[in-house]
Amino acid sequence: MFFYLRRIILLFITVALVSVITFAVFQVLPGDPIRTMLGTEADETQIENLRSELGLDRPLYEQYFTWIKGLFTGDLGNSIRFSMPVSTLLMERLPVTLSVASIALLIVLLVALPLGIFAARRKNKASDVVLSSVTQLGMAVPSFWLGMIFILYIGMNVDFFRINGYIPWTESIQGALSTLLLPALTIAIPQVAVKFRYVRTSILEQVQLDYVRTIRSKGLPEKIVVYKHILKNAMIPILTIFGLITAEIVAGTIIVEQVFALPGIGQLLITSISNRDFPLVQGIVMYITVAVVCINFLVDILYSVVDPRIRLR
């Protein structure tokens, strides 16, 4: 119980700190949201009217406290660029980003785990060497480049895939997959490579330990040795890297959404920063913060599930 309470308090402190930092950074950054939005054609009357309408002429601390007050009542304020509530904008885009991220995570899980186990069991054999060098390549490839290659060679040639925009799941499952699969793959490939190496190494580390020799000499079949004993023990480091990878996938969506013109949170973040749309940036940063803190929380809980010796303190 105490563990959960501490976690929640930690979440609040993180959110508060992150919000102060983003706010401060935004005050230092040059560039004015109103002028950026209205461009060269605006006259001073329009600029000043909009500024006072949005409350941007008030003192800084007042702007910040209004925002914080809103946060507690669940009101993230209005976007400057889009004249819409930030929460509406986030809600519209959340499904896109969550879908891409979950598909990517699923791919990473389904590919990296079996592949890692396979390679570990065949240590130093040809298949292991090939896999290890291929994944080396996978790690080195930047995702924006991979995305463009996918668009050029798969998206443009295979009818199934669409290279622009997003079709909601509710409209057509096939449609959604046709827009999401390539971006998810783009994020997943470098992550698969990293994850594969972790799985392989942590299994190989376990293999050298005494208990493995003992159960082997006891005559247990190799399958049980690997899946029941080694994998279970190797799970802790694998889980840790999982927490990190999930956070990286969330970050990866920012680039990939831009490449595939997916209307997700990442694309919104870039637009909002270049437009100096403070309330919107703040809202998105809050979402990312909460997401990352929650993932770490989840990983902590999973530790104790995988290894009951670990107590949540």
């Binding site: 560039g31 006259d43 329009q46 885009r93 622009n164 925009g165 997003y166 209307p263 919104l268």
Partner: protein
Amino acid sequence: MLKRKCWLSFVLVCVLFLIGACSNSEGDNSSTAMSGDTNGQSSSQAQEIRVRINDDPDFLDPHHATASISFQMILNMFEGLFIPKQDGSLTEGVAESYEVSDDGLTYTFKIREGITFHNGEDLTIDDIMYTFERLMGLAGGEKLSNNFDNVDSIDTLDDTTFVMTLKEPNSNFLYSLTALQSAIIPKSNDGKHNENPIGTGPFAFVNYSPGSSLELKKHEGYWQEGLPYLEKVNFIFQSDDQAAVMNLLANEVNLTGIPGHRVSEVEGNYNVSHQNNNSSLIITFNGDKEPFNDVKVRQAINYAINKQDIIDSVFSGYATPIGSNMSPAMGDYYLDGLQEVYNRDVEKAKELLAEAGYPNGFSTKITVSSHNDIYSSIAQIAVENLKEIGIDVEIEVVEWGIWLERVYSGRDYEMTTIDLTGRPSAYEVLNNYISENDAENFFLFDNEEFDQVMSDVLLESNRDKQIEYYQRAQEILNEQVPAVYIADYQILWGSTNNITGLKSYPFWFHDMKEVKFE
């Protein structure tokens, strides 16, 4: 143990069912998706167009919107008393006819009957009054525009007659009565003009998803019989030019602007049309700072910069050279020949520089925005050119927001390059250089004769004489060179072959009124 296994198999069965259900619905959906696709290909029946636009509109409320990119789209939804034509002149829109009193102060408009708004309501004289009261801030709100500061009063004579009285005569006044400055909007929609914009234009608002698209549909009750042809217009926002070309090739969009160097990829299979954009692409100087306050230095730079190189390498040749702040797209108002005055002449440039007291050149900085690659490409060529006459230029690339704040409104710069977007009125194309135009004169140009010409032209009602004034203004700009006038670069439109009826204007407008798929 057994219990657990039972539970597990139950879950398994559930999952299987789910997968079954999914694949079923997948089957259904794939058939609908297929029929959707065929619609997209044989669009001759569908009459739906997808147009790619670089960025979101700033506002959908036409009185709040200022960015030209917004009007490019929303002019399809709104109309003013007058409608701008392709040659930059005006034609009657919501106003059926008008009269101007002899002193040039009283404008009387007859409002066209039988116009309906997108919501089905008839347009009445109250809506006209409401529109101008809103813009001028007479109805309690703040004033939304400076364009009507010269209006003394507005009034109605009867149900179809609207009168505006000016404080001083202004021959350019009618230009502030188009949808660009004063779109007519219904009183009944007060307070919702941005969320749910309603106008009288050929297309009605359906949906706006920020960062993704703006959907419009045909306005069934449009007053011009038989128009528009299209059932649906979908503006799709995508900032990346390279991705846009791929989208055209993949038939995801029907119409998009394409970069000059990629024309060869789409030529043949797609229509490529080019349009003078009526913008003035310039390299300009801070007229208040030394040495740019010396006209000889400015002229020297004009002689040194190789405009043709810029046109060829940055725009792949798709640009029209200009000699002052006006493009041939402005028709009669444009003064031809000025583009030849500063043909590249390095010796002459050096001479002028020496006469100005800088025989060995000087060092300076050019500040360019990063939101479009063209600016830094232009700056690079300029730097090389200027090196030849001893001027050492450092390039500073900043974000668009910073450029606007520091260079455009802050005037804290030495040199910069930008394109000034076109407007339908010659007056508004040139008024940037009036010394009192604080908001737009970021070159800090201050020339008495120019100011005089620009104030005289407002009092002149004869069009031929107006043209003389405007041409004199161009000559002054060409002599005084507050900027290096490079070119009006063309926008290249790539479109699906079966589209007809695309029109180009001397300002940014994707007019969809007469567009159709053959």
